[in-house]
Symmetry: C2
Subunit: 364 residues, 2 copies
């Protein structure tokens, strides 16, 4: 598993057994108002207890996550946005980093293009989904805040070549600089000027765990020493991990494959047509479907309900059961989903123009 070539992750349990990620089950009930947590989409964590303590005792904590500005903002990205907004509503100082150095080094994007995508696609959609500007720190890796680069140098000094190889496999100079920049991103909220040392939660997809592990190792080394001139104290950051949405036609949902995703800016009618041709858990014939029932766990339409379109668990359970027992056919189900997608996109896109203005304002 590496953070640049995500495929489907077949076995989330393996991540926990082999890399020491902990199950989020203990917290599911506690946060049953939040769809992703209640439904096990957020399935893993590291050190979430210290974040919970901050929430309970109203102590300051930070939420930090990044975005890779490489293409259209789609339903998979919406998941991260919803998590950001949830943590913001739950008292977190909110830090969002646009990883333009990474997209430059690893994806060949120019800085100008990355900036455009980050603002027009990501930040605007975050706002349209409910992000508040108040207390928000949004920055680009290339913004070159002094101490931020010093963090990168401090990280470079506290990790060996073999450790990097063990985590990331084959290395290049660009990859090394890129991962050190990620470490600086994650520790950034704990710089004095951004609030100093405090618990930080990083909600990410499971593929980003290598960055979390590396940063936690480096942070624990930094926390254990007192650097003469560097003068940086920090706490080891926490993380939560979510599962990935699948692509509409199976495989992964990807920015670069238009057929695989629904972008939040795409034409609602076109999106609706994509749903109508999505991969479902249906059987080969209507007769078989009635006899054997459908397979909602393999169905992209069901996944859209689960992640985004149905917040009511009873309603969702009804769909699941009716599909399972063959009562619900794929045709009518897809029409309902297409309709929900279309309505969601129309409402969202009405909020977009003013959200775009807010995004531009934030950066000027």
């Amino acid at each position: 598993m590496d953070p640049w070539t995500v495929g489907e992750i077949a076995d989330y349990g393996k991540l926990m057994r082999e890399f020491g990620m902990e199950s989020f089950d203990a917290y599911r009930r506690r946060f049953d108002e939040f769809r992703y947590m209640r439904r096990g989409v957020v399935f893993g964590h590291r050190d979430f207890a210290r974040i919970l303590e901050c929430m309970d005792k109203k102590k300051p904590y930070a939420m930090m996550t990044g975005l890779m500005p490489s293409g259209a903002f789609h339903m998979g990205h919406k998941m991260v946005a919803d998590e950001i907004i949830w943590f913001q509503e739950h008292g977190a100082d909110t830090f969002i980093c646009a990883a333009d150095v990474e997209s430059y080094l690893m994806r060949d994007k120019s800085f100008a293009e990355a900036r455009r995508i980050a603002v027009e696609e990501y930040l605007a959609n975050y706002f349209a989904l409910g992000l508040k500007s108040k207390g928000l720190h949004f920055w680009f890796q290339s913004d070159h805040v002094g101490e931020y680069y010093r963090l990168r140098d401090m990280a470079a000094k506290r990790v060996t070549f073999n450790e990097l190889t063990a985590i990331y496999g084959e290395l290049s100079p660009g990859k090394i600089v890129s991962v050190l920049t990620q470490v600086a991103d994650i520790l950034h909220p704990q710089l004095e000027r951004y609030g100093g040392p405090r618990p930080t939660v990083v909600p990410v997809g499971a593929d980003q765990d290598p960055h979390i592990r590396l940063t936690r190792d480096i942070a624990s080394r930094l926390a254990a020493e007192r650097e003469g001139g560097a003068d940086f104290k920090c706490q080891v950051p926490s993380a939560t991990y979510h599962k990935f949405m699948g692509g509409l036609s199976g495989g992964k949902m990807s920015s670069s494959d238009q057929k695989s995703h629904i972008a939040l800016t795409e034409d609602p009618a076109a999106a609706s047509r994509k749903v109508m041709s999505a991969k479902t858990g249906g059987r080969a014939t209507a007769e078989e479907q009635r006899r054997l029932g459908g397979e909602p766990d393999k169905c992209m339409v069901y996944e859209l309900y689960l992640y985004h379109l149905m917040d009511d668990d009873l309603e969702l359970a009804k769909v699941y059961n009716e599909c399972k027992c063959g009562k619900l056919t794929c045709g009518e189900d897809k029409r309902r989903c297409a309709d929900l997608v279309e309505r969601f996109l129309r409402a969202h896109q009405e909020r977009l123009p003013s959200a775009r203005e807010r995004a531009e304002r934030l950066l000027h």
Copy 2:
């Protein structure tokens, strides 16, 4: 040969044969007013012709060099200072970089300590030796100028891991960041805000050639392409190489070994005593000395004349010949040298207080 563990370089010819450095002989006559060039202390170069052209045609060019703020400023460092000043007097835009990121990563110096040494030891002595503030760009690697860090990222993208290994041997993440920072240092004068693309000469000790080679390779790649968003054009930098002064008791002259060097801030009487116990090219007995003659080429006292204390070639030749034929004894010669050192230091140290003030002013 690597830039962090300099020993004596036994064979400068080998550097030219194996690494494609060119001999400076062709330019010695042309610049016979400059002691280091005339006497072959500056022995090698890369692409010096384009610098000469700028000098001749009064076209803009830059001179860039770095300092490693790790200890006392001594007679070996004075050589670099004299070269900086010479290029400044010959029309170069003058760029001096204090390598505090490197001293942090490679020598465990804190940033605060590096800053103190760079200003009090290096910059102050540069001024006392004749550097002018006018048109001078002096900066720290950790100053975090935006485009400067972008240069580091651009460099990271244009070099492979195997190339770095071929140049520097075993690598660590800190070493990789450190050498990429050096590349940014050297290309820095060609950023638009510092004058844009133009010939740049880097006068350095021969041990720094690995950085020069790496930077020239990366610069030629940058020069050959037009980067979409990055938008940085540059010319491949030139370099001149000087030999190293030996230490007073043989071996290398080093900041960390007080007996090996004369610091420009040390007590003149103490420095004079060091000269009196320096390694010379004298024979075991006075009788042998008269019979066989001395060996000025192995004599640290003669080296002090050659590099610093005797600007008159005839006078120097007289010392050389009188030593060779046994007429000059080491005792009287050391007394003369000690006297010259003492006088030089007294005069220099009279200029230091106001030079220190200028150094502080430049940075505030």
